[in-house]
Symmetry: C2
Subunit: 134 residues, 2 copies
Amino acid sequence: MIIIYFLIFAVRFSHQREKIREIVYNTNSHPTADKIFLEAKKSIPKISLGTVYRNLKQLEISGEIKTIYDDNIARYDWNTEPHNHLKCKNCGDLIDIVLKDKSIHPKIKKDFKFNVDKVEMFIIGTCKKHAKQT
Amino acid sequence: MIIIYFLIFAVRFSHQREKIREIVYNTNSHPTADKIFLEAKKSIPKISLGTVYRNLKQLEISGEIKTIYDDNIARYDWNTEPHNHLKCKNCGDLIDIVLKDKSIHPKIKKDFKFNVDKVEMFIIGTCKKHAKQT
DNA sequence: AAATAAATAATAATCATTCCTATTATTATT
DNA sequence: AATAATAATAGGAATGATTATTATTTATTT
């Protein structure tokens, strides 16, 4: 027996979603849902936090943004290309970096029989603004 | 002027803390606070979740255990040596691995003027139990 | 054994996030 | 342009993880 599901999912235009997308795409600091909410409020005063979360999830599903977890809170990133983050323990800033080294993938596959999809890396330390001179 | 602070912090014995330490040290699955709480309850029925969290934090501060964040919940690890985790997206299991390659430290220091303390890496994919054959 | 102060149990509070529902807004159809 | 269908919203309640509060208990010192 063959069962075919058609999931018809009509995504309609919404001003709120446009604004949320615009905010994420214009922010480099990996904002939290709350930051996005406060920013969106400036132009859409009645917007609700639930709307922000719902649309962020939808934008993530459609591949337009990426969610990253910093300790236990979600942050949102316009950069959907594979990349990693430096986190300064002094200022909390997240800095995007691209490490193009893919050599660990085959190594992990060989050593642990584990198929790697993606590597989420948080490199913790002190950024140049806060480093003591060495 | 020289100011010297003596922070006298008398840590007293407690059965609850001993049990919590014992549970973490005998569990390889990176248990959550709740799991530890349920396990501790078996021998200390009146233990409270607050006690579990308070002691886990204290054990973390004293360097006896390590906290890792898996998406948005905290897990606890007896392994305080630098290591990383493979996370299977099917079963959610976390597998400890040690990647001894420290070559990214000087590279990041050079390229980004960023002093690396530690690298937290979550390698997401499918473990051997759940991998399709390739 | 009495005095002390750290640790606890129980519970309230908080914070991020998700869920619920009556209402509103977008889009397709007449 | 009006109508119908239904996706999206605002507002608020609910949830789940974690932290804070406080009266009581317990380990240690005197």
